[in-house]
Symmetry: C2
Subunit: 457 residues, 2 copies
């Protein structure tokens, strides 16, 4: 493979081709402990679309698979290396090429960090909604590949809802430009949304045109606590039914609450469940929305409700929600799941997780984006115990089965990657799988990009 | 072909297979006078998914192309018959299978009329946004196939933004189920959005799961008139830039205004351009939004602005906008175009159309969805004059070229169909076309569905 390495060095420069195992280890895997990973032949960090094209052509000629990778914040192993592959890291392509306030769009390279984009467009009074938990270090390229979500989705949707077009290097090195700069457009198949969420299996995204929104008003915050998850679940369902659309609606179960209380050394005054909602509509509209939610919570049996316009107080309450994973590290390592269920089945999901927790003998904290049904049951285990790891893995799978049973999906925002391949096959069935394979074959006949990720060849 | 007709009759019943040319003529073409059309072998009207599967299998066995069709309100010839084909009409599959207010979704068959769905979900306090001009007779199946838009798009997006999943009969008769019932979900490629807008070239949609929104507040309406289109265009651009998102923002040029005044026998008090905006945010929020837009209009040099909360008055103003095409029939036949340009290029588009109009010696009225840049320059011609028709056709093409020159797209909501094939190739380029053909080949290797529509095989 020396010939390939020589070509790669010619393509991107010697400094941008890493082969030392001590260095490449940092690019071998993402944040999902369950996912398999291998030893790459090399890690390359191109600086331009032309360099990506050269890398793709070289790898294609040598039949060496490419695993595209952003910052590695993923939670499905989609960016994990496979043995002998080239990991193509897009972090050096981190230019915000353009912000166009007249048309509320931005053009960016894939290595731009989500938070950097948010800050850059905020200066123009604009807002890029997708806000995955890792927004301070994940990249737009990874967000596009996994169709990332976040807390914003209840009102603003997932990444695909903010993408107008992409540029993608295909398996033969040619450059495909999809989409447009206009807010509407139906010329041809929607290739943009085909590439978004394709987890690096169809090409390498080298540029994206993103739709921006007007910056929303400063958020007002409501917190409500419940002594049963059934009551909290009923409140969520009724908010949906009554047609209130908050800009954020998060739920924490008892285990999450206790962990965060211990971690932040605070008292959340909550027992079985806590709902956290925000409205970014501003003024009277925000007051009306939160008053409606407060009434629904009270009617559903909330123990306590509290509304505040104070930004610092709102931020503190959000910190509680955002601290769950770190708090769980008090107890051990964590394994976070990602199922999305119909919004009237949240209480059933929590009850099911309690049962799985009891049977597995492992702590499972359930937290998530209640407003859109996207829940993250998180299993805590002792990483030094093979037995606990095996039980955690089994519980992880049982939760996926539970999500499907409740009419949901095996992934709301993290993706399939290298851990849910068999579950994808279960969810989409043999016809769906055949169509996936047909599209993959049409676009990547040599199985160059991320082979074995998402579905088996 | 008697063997195929026998199989079709066995599949759907004799009454649902039409072969008499006097009857099939009604299914030969849609509303676009430019598009070619042929003589179908038969028109079939299946009543169920199973019947669609049987029809597809029979046609596949006899290598007879299928042109799927809804109500025929399309404006690109996508549903136009080709010689010897089977036109598969979905209008008999018109059940609203389910409305689920708890999860704000509806499950429908493709033949449901857009207006019937709107009315059915409104009873539950819910709202299905896509509202193409033909909403009182077009079907959801056609809306899905063309990714239809409407007046709502500036705030609520196009059809694809309201689709959670579809069921599609593929070329081998198998049934593909895409998507989900949850609001989020990233399991596998986004096949849903691949089929939406594919104009019947990849399969026959037999069912769809649609996302609904809370019913908005009753609209408040603003009208502003301008004595130059440049001033009106500047107002639109500034509204976008200032981050106000109305629920409707339409523009009419001088020719549209004059035609409507004559048709409705009213005085719109407008000279060169009229902007019509609505806010459905209700109460203080609506007042704030429309006041902001009113200020922008005044600052941009509006001659007159007027705001009303009165619903009847708002409806009357909207009637003026909705009457443009009918009003143009006072002068002759019309040919409506559908380009979408960046929102700060609307005045340039109108100016360009004025030039094209002068050079073609034909009246061109420009009206459209200013808030999203989707404009419908409409050419008036004498259908009995071959020369005028040829000039109209040439003007139609020049407008598409102008749309692309201004950084826009050749279709904002009507689709490519059988009239913009060459223009699609121009817009997406050779790599884009190759990817389109690859996907078509992967899903429909025998070129069974709507061959030659959207792009040449």
């Amino acid at each position: 493979m020396e010939a390939l390495l020589t070509e790669l060095r010619a393509a991107v420069g010697s400094d941008a081709v890493l082969t030392d195992a001590d260095v490449t280890v940092a690019y071998q895997r993402d944040m999902m402990p369950l996912a398999p990973y291998g030893q790459p032949l090399a890690v390359v960090l191109p600086s331009s679309t032309e360099q990506v094209q050269a890398v793709v052509r070289a790898c294609a000629a040598h039949r060496t698979p490419i695993v595209p990778r952003g910052a590695g914040s993923g939670l499905s192993g989609a960016a994990n290396a496979i043995d002998g592959c080239v990991v193509l890291v897009t972090t050096k392509m981190n230019a915000i090429v353009e912000v166009d306030p007249d048309n509320r769009l931005a053009v960016v390279e894939p290595g731009v960090v989500n938070l950097d984009l948010r800050a850059a467009v905020e200066k123009h009074g604009l807002f890029y909604p997708p806000d995955p938990s890792s927004y301070d270090w994940c990249t737009i390229g990874g967000n596009l590949s996994t169709n990332a979500g976040g807390l914003c989705c209840v009102k603003y949707g997932v990444t695909t809802d903010s993408v107008l077009g992409v540029e993608v290097v295909l398996a033969d090195g040619s450059l495909l430009k999809t989409g447009r700069r206009t807010v509407k457009g139906v010329a041809g198949y929607d290739l943009t949304k085909l590439f978004v969420g394709s987890e690096g299996t169809l090409g390498v995204i080298t540029r994206a045109t993103l739709a921006l929104r007007p910056l929303p008003q400063a958020p007002s915050t409501l917190v409500a606590t419940f002594d049963t998850t059934v009551a909290a679940g009923a409140a969520v369902a009724r908010v949906v039914r009554e047609g209130v659309v908050p800009s954020l609606m998060e739920i924490m179960d008892r285990t999450s609450i206790k962990a965060v209380e211990q971690y932040l050394k605070t008292d959340l005054n909550a027992d079985a469940a806590l709902l956290l909602c925000q409205s970014d509509s501003g003024g009277e509209a925000a007051r009306r929305e939160l008053a409606a939610i407060e009434q629904v919570c009270a009617d559903s049996g909330a123990v306590l409700t509290y509304v505040t316009d104070d930004l610092a107080e709102g931020r503190d309450l959000l910190t509680a929600r955002r601290s769950v994973l770190m708090a769980l590290e008090l107890y051990g390592a964590w394994l976070t799941d990602d199922v999305c269920v119909p919004r009237n089945r949240i209480a059933d999901l929590i009850a099911g997780c309690e049962l799985i927790s009891a049977e597995a003998g492992l702590r499972i904290a359930v937290t998530g984006h209640a407003g859109d049904g996207n829940m993250h049951p998180t299993i805590v285990y002792d990483p030094s115990s093979a037995d606990e790891f095996a039980r955690a893995r089994a519980a992880f799978d049982r939760i996926l089965g539970l999500g499907l049973e409740l009419g949901g999906t095996i992934t709301g925002e993290h993706g399939v990657g290298k851990i849910k391949r068999e579950w994808l096959a279960t969810e989409i069935g043999p016809v769906g799988l055949r169509v996936h394979r047909g599209i993959k074959q049409a676009l990547d006949p040599g199985n160059l990009f991320n082979p074995g990720s998402m579905f088996s060849p």
